[in-house]
């Protein structure tokens, strides 16, 4: 009996895995496109005009989620960026005073290639990736944000950290003319944040340069901000001007402000309350009911190993 080989499927017929994995979004996008065609083109243009320049050559990155994205308007108008005022609506209105070009990022500390980099040279060697991440704020609300960024680990390797490098410390610009909120002393300026080296090298950790496929709006931390999706949002330091490899655990701006409330790790943890409020649940913007907050913001499979054996109540 003749056994025929199975008919070969021409490669053009195979659904690209990336498309397959995101098939729901693909269908959603088709639906949205249909709605979009029906909608007035004027409205579409007005929306496009409000957004910054589109970024070219953005690849789809890993770790995506199929959860509904928080609308761009909300991501870009609801910001905790005290350098531009303590109201969440004020950064969107006042961050225009920040000049993101030219911009220099200083890399120094325990590494073999310290240097001052122009922001564009800093980003150029890397492929921009879209990463759709949940963001959980320590205040109890959350978003789902399609960032565009580069893996921090790839960036840090270029500077060849030495064996003494145990932590990475990040610093925001300090300039009261560009950042009027720094005239008030709500925090000890400039804003500082830090990660353990293994956290910084983790493939989930990125430096974001964009949002929704376009250049990062100033109020979201342009031109360069940290995104660490399993930690509370305030760890995501904005408008970075300095990256320093250090051998001692850095003290972040919020930790300095109130060390009993904001710890170095600040991993999202529904079991460890903020001293003043519960962290067990969160309000996803746009939703009426609250959601249960997930351990490590739902990234436990990827990151829990880094904290094995640690008392997370003590190391909050």
């Amino acid at each position: 009996m003749l056994i025929r080989p199975a008919t070969e499927i021409p490669s053009s017929e195979i659904t690209d895995e990336r498309v397959y994995v995101r098939r729901r979004e693909f269908l959603q996008a088709c639906g949205l496109a249909a709605v979009g065609l029906a909608a007035s083109p004027i409205a579409v243009n007005a929306q496009a005009a409000a957004r910054p320049r589109k970024l070219e050559n953005v690849a789809r990155g890993p770790f995506g989620t199929t959860e509904a994205l928080t609308p761009y308007e909300n991501v870009a108008t609801y910001n905790n960026f005290y350098e531009f005022g303590t109201d969440k609506s004020s950064p969107a209105m006042t961050a225009g005073s920040l000049k993101t070009r030219p911009w220099t990022v200083k890399v120094d500390g325990e590494c073999d290639r310290p240097a001052d980099y122009d922001i564009d040279d800093f980003i150029k060697p890397h492929t921009l990736e879209e990463r759709v991440y949940r963001m959980r704020c320590v205040e109890g609300w959350s978003m789902v944000i399609p960032w565009v960024g580069i893996p921090l680990g790839d960036v840090l390797k270029r500077f060849e950290p030495t064996s003494r490098a145990k932590f990475v410390e990040f610093t925001t610009l300090r300039d009261t003319r560009q950042m009027p909120g720094q005239r008030s002393s709500v925090l000890d300026w400039p804003y500082v944040e830090g990660l353990r080296l293994d956290e910084a090298m983790h493939p989930l950790t990125i430096l974001a340069v964009g949002l929704y496929g376009a250049v990062l709006p100033n109020q979201n931390g342009a031109p360069l901000r940290l995104v660490v999706p399993w930690k509370y949002g305030f760890k995501g330091i904005k408008s970075i001007v300095r990256i320093r490899f250090v051998d001692r655990q850095p003290v972040g701006a919020w930790e300095r402000q109130s060390s009993s409330e904001y710890g170095f790790y600040s991993n999202v943890n529904p079991q460890v309350d903020h001293p003043r409020w519960s962290q067990a649940s969160e309000r996803r913007l746009g939703e009426f009911f609250k959601r249960k907050t997930l351990m490590f913001n739902g990234y436990g499979d990827q990151v829990a190993g880094m904290y094995a054996g640690m008392d997370l109540r003590k190391n909050f």
């Binding site: 108008t77 005290y82 303590t86 969440k88 709500v186 519960s278 913007l285």
Partner: protein, 215 residues
């Protein structure tokens, strides 16, 4: 039109309508997307802010009346106080419904455990008997002295309300500080008047007795 009729039929309804304005803004915003990315937070903050504002307004009536010598001002005091209670009730309802979704167990745990919620709850609870005894009939039944003594609880409510706000902010206390300063002026003016009435004597007993006489 006599001034009594002007107050009763024009000024009071106008002030009442204006006092409902903040609620109107919140309701309108909730249905038109005008409350921003986190409407429930906007409602929580809005109702809380207006509770404090109406409490301060209520406490401002007596000093303003003394300063302006325009006695009819006192006829607005009850309305302001009741609006404070009204916005406080909405604020509490927002917490119980939109934040805790009627999970009484969680609420019962929150109130003693979270100091800012303890304070907010105290500020509200204290207002309940004041609202309940706000009618002319209740004043008559209780007698002016007892009624005035009871209604001094409004000071406690206002202090607890401002502390509640102060304790909940993350870092920027500039706004709670404004409320605290306004409250300090309003309470301070009462101490000052009491001190003067007592003839400048700093005895701890006599000024206290005379506070009620000045209200």
């Amino acid at each position: 039109m006599s001034s009594a009729r002007l107050i009763r039929f024009v000024l009071k309804p106008a002030v009442c309508a204006a006092s409902l304005g903040p609620l109107g803004v919140l309701v309108f915003g909730a249905f038109t997307g005008g409350l921003g990315a986190n409407p429930i937070e906007a409602i929580t903050h809005g109702t809380g802010d207006w509770t404090l504002r109406f409490l301060l307004l209520t406490l401002a009536v007596t000093p303003l009346r003394t300063l302006t010598r325009w006695n009819p001002l006192v006829r607005f005091r009850r309305m302001f106080g009741l609006f404070a209670f009204f916005y406080a009730s909405l604020h509490l309802l927002t917490y119980v419904w939109l934040d805790k979704f009627f999970s009484w167990r969680e609420i019962a745990r929150d109130i003693p455990r979270r100091p800012f919620i303890t304070m907010g709850f105290l500020a509200f609870v204290v207002l309940v008997p004041l609202a309940a005894t706000s009618t002319a009939g209740m004043i008559r039944r209780m007698g002016g002295r007892a009624w005035r003594r009871l209604h001094r609880l409004v000071y406690l409510s206002a202090i607890a309300g401002v502390v509640h706000y102060w304790w909940l902010v993350k870092a920027d206390v500039s706004r709670p500080r404004l409320y605290a300063m306004a409250l300090a002026v309003l309470l301070g003016s009462r101490l000052f008047v009491a001190y003067r009435k007592a003839g400048g004597v700093t005895s701890p007993v006599r000024p206290r007795a005379s506070i009620s006489a000045t209200r």
